[in-house]
């Protein structure tokens, strides 16, 4: 536990600072999201070593959640998906002249929720990790499968499309050496393909290059940013009082949603807004510029970001693109996340958790005074920013294996990702299929071998049976619900 203070060494503080600043900038900029940005700086973080490198990556992840709200409120452009809801009341508050108050409440809500979720993470992650020590291949298979099914259900848009993308991801993960026998598959004798498709190359393509291509056809946000003076940042006592209940509700809701696979931060913010619309004291004002519409969702998306770290740190299974990048960062630094992380690398585990505390304080101190600067970053014309992003993507993809094949993978992934976006296929399920594919394959084959070929071996243990049953229910339920609805409308 004393390793928590690892985060306070000068090098780690600097890594945390750089990460949170980069994250805030990424959060502010429409286009590049946290997953893409984290993949871009992976080569940099490897140089820093495991603890500092992961602290920097985590800082980007948290900072993006913070920064996303700034442009939502000031110019009605959500920096990333999790702050779309904040535009509803946040921007209307800004037009009423309460931009400063909305920004301050967003920052305070993020801080409260972020801190709560770190405390919960600190308590829960070791417990889950200890329980997970008893997990065998069958349990891992069931959990990964359940995660992917839930992910397809919750990603939004068409479920069949998300499912298709998960499967494409799993298929892409079979390129290269197979996880058990060492058979080389689907390489078509291409040089560099034996190592498989680089996760960094696919991620920089799907979340970097594809965003640049998509942003070219999009309108540029208008240049005028309202100027917010420092002394305008104080919310009134009334506004603060009204923010507290939604903030607390959003925090708890967000953390719980964060434990579920899927784009949890985005979903958490919507759920929180929905709850405020139902139970909030001033619910009638929501949608016209109510402070509750900022406090709740902003707390929820930050708490969810913390909740999402639990499956990663304690089981080694990421269920969001950002935590998947964190996972691949850990792998590159030869740190295997999962039940043994706490035992084998306590300074990494506690150092990263400690950095979340430090990062939250840094973000609060950084964001309030510098809010105007960050808002202006959003109005930098893409023509000066995006070309550089393209080159960074190429370098990040190349440096993963020092291989030109990975640059090709990135270019193809980028063009495919752009087409996917136009056709409403989300890149997140594909990336997670790619990451979890080898986990699924290895655990399935190992479980079958252990059970001497009996398929029932997959659900022989209690936890595995429960998780597989849940996966089946999650797979069937939406179809059944749609069928019931259809018969009901036919009858009326």
């Amino acid at each position: 536990m004393s390793e928590l203070f690892v985060a306070l060494t000068p090098a780690n503080l600097l890594a945390c600072f750089v990460g949170t600043v980069l994250g805030t900038i990424v959060g502010v900029l429409p286009g590049l999201g946290p997953a893409g940005a984290m993949a871009l700086v992976l080569p940099l973080t490897i140089k820093l070593g495991p603890t500092a490198g992961l602290i920097m990556l985590a800082g980007i992840y948290y900072g993006a959640m913070y920064g996303g709200s700034t442009t939502s409120i000031l110019i009605n452009v959500p920096g990333e998906a999790a702050s779309v809801v904040t535009t509803i009341d946040g921007y209307r508050l800004a037009r009423k002249g309460r931009a400063g108050a909305a920004l301050a409440v967003a920052a305070i809500a993020s801080f409260v929720a972020g801190t709560f979720s770190v405390v919960a993470l600190q308590l829960a992650a070791p417990m889950v990790a200890r329980a997970a020590l008893a997990f065998g291949p069958a349990e891992y298979f069931a959990f990964a499968l359940l995660g992917l099914v839930l992910l397809a259900n919750l990603t939004g848009g068409s479920r069949a499309k998300s499912l298709a993308m998960v499967l494409v991801g799993v298929m892409l993960s079979t390129v290269g050496m197979d996880p058990l026998g060492g058979t080389v598959r689907f390489t078509f004798d291409l040089a560099g393909a034996q190592a498989g498709l680089s996760f960094v190359a696919v991620t920089t393509g799907l979340f970097g290059v594809a965003e640049v291509l998509a942003s070219m056809a999009e309108p540029v946000p208008a240049g005028a940013v309202p100027h917010v003076k420092f002394r305008e940042l104080y919310p009134s006592r009334e506004e603060l009082r009204r923010s507290v209940p939604p903030m607390l509700r959003g925090t708890v809701l967000g953390f719980l949603v964060g434990l579920v696979p899927g784009p949890s931060a985005t979903i958490a913010s919507f759920v929180s807004y929905g709850v405020e619309k139902k139970v909030g004291k001033h619910r009638a004002e929501l949608g016209t510029g109510a402070i509750e519409g900022v406090a709740g969702p902003e707390a929820a998306n930050n708490a969810a970001a913390g909740g999402g770290m639990i499956p990663l740190l304690s089981l080694g299974l990421p269920f969001t693109p950002s935590t998947a990048v964190l996972l691949s960062g850990m792998m590159l630094m030869s740190v295997t996340p999962g039940p043994f992380l706490l035992r084998d690398h306590p300074s990494v585990f506690w150092g990263v958790i400690g950095s979340f505390y430090v990062g939250n304080v840094m973000l609060l101190l950084l964001n309030l005074p510098l809010v105007g600067v960050f808002a202006r970053v959003a109005t930098i014309p893409p023509r000066y920013l995006m070309p550089g992003v393209l080159v960074l993507c190429a370098v990040a993809a190349y440096s993963d294996n020092n291989n030109i094949f990975d640059v090709w993978v990135m270019v193809v992934a980028g063009i495919a990702g752009w087409a996917m976006r136009a056709l409403d296929f989300g890149p997140a399920p594909l990336v997670l299929g790619l990451v979890l594919g080898p986990v699924l394959e290895r655990s399935l084959l190992q479980a079958l071998t252990i059970a001497r070929g009996e398929i029932s071996g997959l659900w022989a243990s209690g936890p595995a049976a429960v998780m597989l049953a849940a996966a089946v229910v999650a797979f069937v339920a939406p179809g059944v619900a749609a069928l019931v609805r259809r018969t009901a409308t036919h009858r009326t």
């Binding site: 429409p30 999201g33 946290p34 997953a35 080569p43 140089k47 009605n76 959500p78 990333e80 998906a81 779309v84 809801v85 921007y91 939004g156 068409s158 069949a160 298709a164 494409v168 298929m171 079979t174 026998g181 058979t183 598959r185 689907f186 640049v212 291509l213 070219m216 056809a217 309108p219 208008a222 985005t266 919507f270 807004y273 929905g274 619309k277 949608g287 014309p381 023509r383 000066y384 995006m386 070309p387 393209l390 960074l392 190429a394 370098v395 190349y398 440096s399 030109i404 640059v407 090709w408 270019v411 409403d424 989300g426 890149p427 997140a428 394959e441 399935l444 084959l445 070929g453 009996e454």
Partner: protein
């Protein structure tokens, strides 16, 4: 609607091609499972999903493709905004000129050329060219600014990655 059907058909074709390529990997037995099992399961499952998508999009009243704002900023689809909150966020509107709409295709071609030329021309020259082309396509005017930007990006990229991090850039 037609685009939806085409994308479903393309997915089905992808699944078939994958299954065809997977035939050479042995399945072996369930007790000693071979490297062909997971590809077979994944390929068949994708084929099934693609067929169901194809059938669904053929039905009358199937939802049309939306070409509005991209599904997300962070790569995650936003849950139906109006449906869940009852309030639509205000979106900036700005007519997109024809030239800008065609430029992503040109940039995509430039990226393919970049990957092809990177090993021949080296990092600095090809990155310089890519940044100039990309910033021109995104609406930068003149040649001085794009060239200065490109020189800056190439130089910083080289110093940061090749010199400091020791990445053996081509």
């Amino acid at each position: 609607m037609r685009r939806e059907r085409w994308s479903a058909a393309a997915l089905a074709l992808l699944a078939l091609a994958y299954l065809l390529a997977a035939r050479r990997y042995p399945l072996d037995t369930l007790a000693t499972p071979g490297p062909g099992i997971v590809p077979l399961v994944a390929g068949v499952a994708l084929l099934g999903v693609a067929i169901s998508l194809f059938v669904k999009t053929g039905r009358v009243g199937a939802p049309a493709v939306s070409f509005g704002p991209p599904t997300s900023r962070a790569g995650l689809a936003d849950p139906a905004t109006t449906h869940e909150t009852g309030v639509a966020p205000i979106r900036p509107t700005d007519p997109t000129p024809q030239r800008v709409r065609r430029s992503p295709i040109v940039l995509a071609v430039a990226l393919v050329l970049y990957a092809a030329l990177l090993p021949r021309l080296g990092f600095i020259a090809s990155s310089f060219a890519l940044v100039v082309i990309a910033s021109r396509l995104m609406g930068a005017s003149g040649w001085w600014r794009p060239a200065a930007l490109a020189a800056g990006v190439a130089a910083i990229g080289y110093l940061l990655f090749a010199r400091w991090l020791g990445v053996p850039l081509p």
